[in-house]
């Protein structure tokens, strides 16, 4: 059985907090452990921050969209912005010695660390990032 709920959010930090809180609640409802709930919420927070800051660049005319879908074996969260698009292959490795002491650039790395699968798709205009956590691995 699949359940899906989606939100259209303003490009603000309040919306980022909303996305994070909702992710935590959905993850708890699915039955993930407290650690997983916290990690999923953080991954969603990081993706929402990217949507607001880098995608929509805090443009009040632009929205971002968060969908939480629960299936029998996974929680699938999709976050879509209305920005210029993103090429994930161009994101620097934050663990590389030359990047280790940088003050930013760790968001997508943390998303990948905390989720089982992470997919990017250009949706013109905008970027869609899909975060998947499998229930069987919780």
């Amino acid at each position: 059985m699949t359940n899906r709920v989606s939100y259209t959010l303003d490009s603000t930090l309040d919306s980022v907090n909303h996305a994070e809180t909702t992710a935590s609640e959905v993850a708890a409802k699915v039955g993930f452990s407290e650690d997983d709930q916290s990690n999923i919420a953080m991954a969603v927070r990081e993706a929402a921050v990217n949507a607001v800051l880098h995608g929509n660049q805090r443009d009040p005319a632009k929205k971002f969209f968060v969908a939480y879908e629960t299936t029998d074996d996974a929680l699938v969260i999709t976050i879509t912005d209305q920005g210029l698009g993103l090429d994930p292959s161009l994101i620097p490795d934050p663990l590389a010695p030359e990047n280790l002491m940088k003050g930013s650039g760790r968001g997508i790395f943390l998303i990948r660390a905390f989720m089982d699968e992470v997919k990017f798709r250009n949706v013109a205009p905008g970027t869609e990032i899909t975060l998947i956590k499998h229930v069987s691995r919780k």
Binding site: R45, V49, L53, L95, K102, S104, R106, F109, L110
Partner: protein
Amino acid sequence: MTMKASNRQVGGVNVVDMSGRITLGEGSVVLREAVKDLLAKGQKKILLNLGDVTYIDSSGIGELVSAFTSVRNQGGELKLLNLTKKVHDLLQITKLYTVFDIKDDEAAAIQSFK
């Protein structure tokens, strides 16, 4: 939960007791301002007590790195005290655990400053 930072001096070291969330926006700004204020006063021995920091995101991690670099560039030392498991794990996966000088005993941490 709102981020708070309060400062006390112990044996010539500035201990900054932080509580709440160090995240993009308010939390990161509180950390940045706390360190900036100390440096402006010439206080370069800084021990950040993160024992009551419940959460930190990539922006907060970046702010810790920037604070560490700012203090070091001015010839000072910034160390971390009392990491929660969550913050400890985050610093490990971002390979920053060995960059920071991390302590779990305040008295020993204060003694360790030059």
